[in-house]
Symmetry: C2
Amino acid sequence: MAAGASGPRARYREQTRAEIKQIALGQLAEGGTAAVALTRIAKEVGLSGPALYRYFDSRDALLSDLIRDAYADLGAAVDAAARAYPADGTRRARLQTLAAAVRAWAVAEPHRYLLIEGTPVPGYTAPPDTLDGARAVLGPFLACFEGAEPAAAMRPLVQQMAQWAAEDAAVGAWARSGVGAGGEGTALAGAVLTWTQLHGAVGLEVSGQFRGMGHDGGTLLTVQMDALADSFGLDRPSQRPHRPPVL
Amino acid sequence: MAAGASGPRARYREQTRAEIKQIALGQLAEGGTAAVALTRIAKEVGLSGPALYRYFDSRDALLSDLIRDAYADLGAAVDAAARAYPADGTRRARLQTLAAAVRAWAVAEPHRYLLIEGTPVPGYTAPPDTLDGARAVLGPFLACFEGAEPAAAMRPLVQQMAQWAAEDAAVGAWARSGVGAGGEGTALAGAVLTWTQLHGAVGLEVSGQFRGMGHDGGTLLTVQMDALADSFGLDRPSQRPHRPPVL
DNA sequence: TCGCTTCTGTTAGAGACTATAACTAGAGGG
DNA sequence: CCCTCTAGTTATAGTCTCTAACAGAAGCGA
């Protein structure tokens, strides 16, 4: 819908914007957020300095666009994983699959993941779409908690989430999009916990803080998700042969 | 040892350095890492521009110092909580207490916490003391897992950690400083999981990504730590009345 | 006490970057 | 076919990091 492309001019404009963003991504990959400089982008794209301001209001606007794209991309990856997951699979395995999809995307594009989940340090500009983006990524996780039976330890959070779903109609509807009515609190609690643990595990791994430690990020995440599945009583743990995934 | 203070000159130097750091902390609190500017610090401290380079080699050096201090401070807070915790208390409650101490520090000084756990975006300069700092913060958590009996889901991670402790003598000794011999893998796994989940929960809360969601950070962290304690078989869950902590 | 050394501070300036202002040429649309 | 709006230009202001060259003063040993 955003296309529009009312004429050849708009088309060319979109093309230039895309080129700018691509070069920005390159700089991001090389030196992090701080390395994204409009002047250098301009030089590389063959324009001169201020011309870029025809395409992006400011450096922050460009970064916000990159964040938006990254969220969309990650969301698509999770969505694809959810779509590919067999309908008759266990909820536990679904949770593992989706979590692994997030991690795989993050490991493949560390800089973009840091852009998303990173602390809003650069210009302290909290992009407002962050919430929507996170919600889109998290959506497919809701269904993992269909009919879950959370352990006692989970109760306080489940209660708070149920109340939230009751007070905010949009949130309630969103939660019900993943699980049947009545399970909103559980599903929201599960999704938020998943998000939090993903943020912790993947964020630390991607930012290199696990280097030199005796474990690999995949195992850590698998273990965490497994424990989370236990906490929500997802399926039977049954017999889990524990060979760590070969990364 | 670091004192030295061989003369009045060194004393004055230390004083000026402290003043610079304090002003930098103020700027950090107002606008994040990006807002810390040497020129403005100089203006505020009554010096002129390049004079600051007599006290810090570069802007990054100043930030590294702030990071070092923050780690030390957080470590001290955790240590104090550990020291204040009764020797005959349960390991589960100890875990909750230490985790709450970390969160309390982070909530009280969000900018400094973000400086620590934040992604290395600004200059992409990974300060090498990060590892030591994290280890100091994590140390007191080791003892929470004394004699723990990890659930099946934890096994892969425990195994990896045990191997790590076996291969790296220093790590093994560190782990044994918290728990008796034989429990290294379990303790390390517990500590790393705690760190990861703390990072996730506290980082998201402090960076404001929970705003507008129907839960409070304290409950989320409590629930997570409780589930973690379950996963490691710490004490008896017994009867937990679940009133959420009033924040 | 004298004089050397070292430390602390200064101004000047190079270089990178964001962003605005004023202006120009040309492409599209009515 | 002309008029307008757009995409580009150069010039410029202002901020920031960091280096260079230099000046004054405090400390220290003989």
